[in-house]
């Protein structure tokens, strides 16, 4: 059927839907729904990890094989360092830049290495905003409880308390760098309400929050003249004879040479795993989101947490084909946009947590109330024109210019017509276990941002990622710098790789998988 014909039901039912209020799921309803429909509970997609610190624990097959994968580095590689620094930061997204800036501010000699360009990351795409409890009716404690509730009570309390307590001061740091958060008329920071949150506390820069933060941090990294290696991917860590982290091996992607870095401390800020396309899902993630940090940290003996749970963002584009997987900002739902099935019905409180909303969409589609595309996809409508009806013409252009443009390129006017959406692989909820200063179980190996785990429990709340990056970027950067200043450079060996290879052999791990993956294999082979 013609798409406009199918959209009629959304237009026809709009007025009736506006009068409706849907309750949020009770904890019991939520458990039942998620266990039945959330991809995290699809057993066939999982297997036990054969060896290493998380031996016997379940994770998705795509990740398990990478964790057990062989190192790319030949055992006889010359380990003479090309660089010798206090702090090596791996990754040039939000967490990496924040870590590098804070380490630099503490007087450390910092090297920032990144697989792509500085700033090519998931951070740059964050549209929803950053959660900080600043209003009178809100508090860090409220923020803590909301996050805990969203994370199914599985969040690390210490990490979480640190994040919410330091939110306001990290927002101030960003303002002092020139980040232009949206303001109220009285000059205060404007706050928006986010999915799963009891109070409005999202700081935003229209729907370009991540872009604005990333632009400013990039610029500051360059202004501070922090040594930078772009298109240099970390492929292995280095350890001394006690198993302490002492540096890393990079691969220069232009000339394919290995670059050995001696570093007193290493901060992994390599981001998430979307480009592994777990369970065949499309992803909202950037090109380099292949879980590199997880693989490297695991090989060195760092324990991972909650790597059996991933976030499928409720609103990934399902049509047109060119946009499949791309994120449709949660802001639309925060501002009152309805999710509507093929019968013109709402089926979930749109501001419930992401796992609930995603599971509900999957449920509607599995039960035959979805809208299908000829390329074999399925989805439900997100009623974008409703915002224009509720808040006046021009609302979308004013508040969601990025999204308007995203669809305009394919001749779709979101002010007039609803868009088709389906969950998209968005975020790795777990990751490397860290303490409140970002240090992993391996001494002098720090992890910040999406690569780390524990903070978000089993479901990250909207707007908590940008805050996580800034707070734990800062803490890992500052701690690593402080540590490095009084530390001699340790020996550079591949002892942990030798041990890992022996283990792999014992457990007959597949020898043809190497990790980190670095990039998805999109280039078509003949």
């Amino acid at each position: 059927m013609d798409i406009h014909q199918l959209q009629q039901i959304v237009h026809k039912t709009r007025d009736a839907r506006r009068k409706q209020t849907l309750p949020k799921c009770s904890p019991a309803e939520r458990d039942t729904l998620i266990k039945k429909y959330h991809p995290d509970f699809r057993e066939s997609a999982y297997r036990a990890i054969k060896f290493g610190p998380n031996k016997g624990e379940m994770t998705v097959r795509e990740l398990a094989s990478l964790l057990e994968g062989d190192s790319l580095v030949p055992p006889d590689l010359d380990l003479t360092p090309a660089y010798s620094v206090d702090v090596l930061v791996v990754g040039g997204g939000g967490a990496g830049c924040a870590a590098a800036l804070h380490a630099h501010a503490h007087g450390a000699k910092v090297l920032l290495a990144t697989k792509l360009r500085l700033g090519d990351s998931n951070t740059v795409m964050a549209q929803g905003g950053m959660q900080v409890a600043i209003t009178h009716e809100d508090s860090p404690v409220q923020h803590f409880l909301d996050t805990l509730k969203g994370g199914h009570m599985k969040n690390d309390h210490n990490l979480l308390r640190v994040m919410v307590d330091e939110g306001p001061s990290i927002a101030k740091w960003l303002l002092e760098l020139g980040v232009l958060f949206d303001r109220d008329t009285d000059g205060n920071l404007h706050v928006k309400k986010g999915g799963g949150s009891s109070k409005p506390r999202l700081l935003t820069c229209s729907d370009y929050t991540g872009l604005e933060i990333m632009r400013v941090l990039n610029d500051e990294v360059l202004n501070q003249k922090i040594q930078l290696l772009e298109f240099c991917a970390a492929v292995e860590l280095l350890s001394d004879d006690k198993g302490t982290c002492t540096g890393a091996i990079l691969r220069d992607l232009d000339n394919k040479r290995y670059v050995v870095v001696a570093a007193k401390t290493v901060i992994l800020a390599t981001g998430g795993i979307g480009r592994l396309h777990i369970q065949g899902y499309p992803t909202s993630n950037h090109y380099g989101a292949t879980g590199d940090g997880l693989a490297m940290a695991y090989r060195m003996g760092a324990k991972l947490l909650q790597i059996d749970t991933f976030q499928y963002h409720p609103s990934g584009a399902a049509y047109p084909e060119q946009l499949v997987g791309a994120l449709v900002t949660e802001g639309i739902r925060s501002e009152g946009g309805h999710l509507v099935n093929a019968k013109g019905e709402r089926f979930v409180n749109e501001l419930d947590t992401r796992d609930v909303v995603s599971s509900s969409i999957i449920k509607e589609c599995e039960e035959g109330r979805g809208i299908r595309t000829m390329s074999g996809r399925v989805g439900v409508w997100l009623d974008t024109p409703l915002l224009e009806v509720e808040q006046g013409p021009g609302t979308l252009e004013k508040h969601f210019p990025a999204m308007v443009r995203q669809y305009q390129r394919y001749s779709i006017d979101i002010a007039k017509d609803p868009v088709l959406i389906y969950p998209t692989l968005h975020y790795q909820n777990g990751g490397v276990q860290i303490d409140v200063n970002g240090e992993s179980g391996v001494k002098n190996l720090f992890v910040a941002g999406e690569t780390s785990g524990g903070l978000h429990g089993r479901n990250r709340l909207m707007g908590n990622s940008l805050l996580d990056l800034m707070v734990f970027g800062k803490r890992s950067g500052s701690t690593a710098a402080g540590r490095a200043m009084s530390l001699p450079q340790g020996k550079l060996t591949l002892g942990h790789v030798t041990r890992f290879r022996a283990e792999a052999k014992k457990h007959s791990a597949s020898a043809d998988v190497t990790s980190p993956l670095l990039f998805p294999a999109y280039a078509k082979k003949e």
Partner: protein, 237 residues
């Protein structure tokens, strides 16, 4: 599910009749499916892309591309991850351009509107050719932005350039060697650092936390057992 099979399926011409189109990539001719994005066309033709792929969502500016449509002499710009190919299209990704970025310690600037002329002395030399505006894939009025920066209207610049993805396509076309995106970034940051109001509510909250205003509540919450915490969470609206 069967009952919806014919009812709720969106027609897609491209799926009904998959059509191959001829495109020219960096001077070579290839056949690719119509309507895929420029970056996917590169992958489709077997090319690995490292420099030139980033967020794939239209935000990072890594995939700046020049293209031309069939029989049109006009060379246009786009982001490769956001543009669909069409028959007869020619395109090449843009290599990194060695623009000069001024470095500055933001907090140490004394008169940021005047300092612009020290940091970017070329900024006021704009000759109004408008090539930068035409080159912008984000539809920013770049030329106007440069002039606003020069006249000290940093607020306007910051608003105009909020959606700048720093692809740098405005830079190589400038006959006055201005890097408009960098000028705008400087002006926007200066606007935030020097000319934005101090948010009182935020300051107040920072002080409250430092003064231990929430300590009692923290003690209460953190001493709860799991069930009590669950109950506390369940009360949240």
């Amino acid at each position: 599910m069967a009952e919806f099979d014919t009812q709720n399926v969106i027609d897609q011409e491209e799926v009904l009749r998959p059509k191959m189109v001829t495109v020219e990539i960096a001077g070579k001719t290839y056949q690719v499916p119509e309507g895929i994005t420029v970056i996917k066309a590169l992958w489709y033709t077997g090319q690995e892309v490292i420099r030139g792929a980033g967020c794939l969502g239209g935000f990072c500016g890594a995939c700046a591309t020049y293209y031309r449509t069939k029989d049109d002499p006009k060379v246009r710009t786009c982001l490769a991850c956001q543009t669909a190919v069409e028959d007869g299209m020619s395109f090449s990704m843009v290599p990194p351009f060695p623009a000069r970025k001024a470095t500055y310690q933001m907090s140490e600037l004394k008169d940021p509107k005047q300092d612009l002329f020290t940091l970017y002395p070329e900024a006021p030399l704009c000759r109004n050719c408008n090539a930068c505006t035409e080159a912008c894939p984000q539809q920013i009025d770049v030329r106007e932005g440069v002039w606003r920066a020069v006249f000290g209207d940093f607020k306007a610049v910051s608003e105009m350039f909020m959606n700048c993805v720093m692809c740098g396509l405005c830079v190589p076309v400038c006959i006055a060697d201005i890097a408009p995106n960098l000028v705008a970034l400087y002006a926007s940051r200066a606007q935030g650092v020097f000319f934005a109001e101090k948010p009182e509510r935020l300051e107040h909250r920072i002080k409250e936390i430092a003064d231990g205003r929430y300590e009692d509540e923290w003690k209460r919450i953190l001493s709860m057992d799991e069930q009590q915490l669950k109950d506390a969470c369940a009360e949240l609206k």
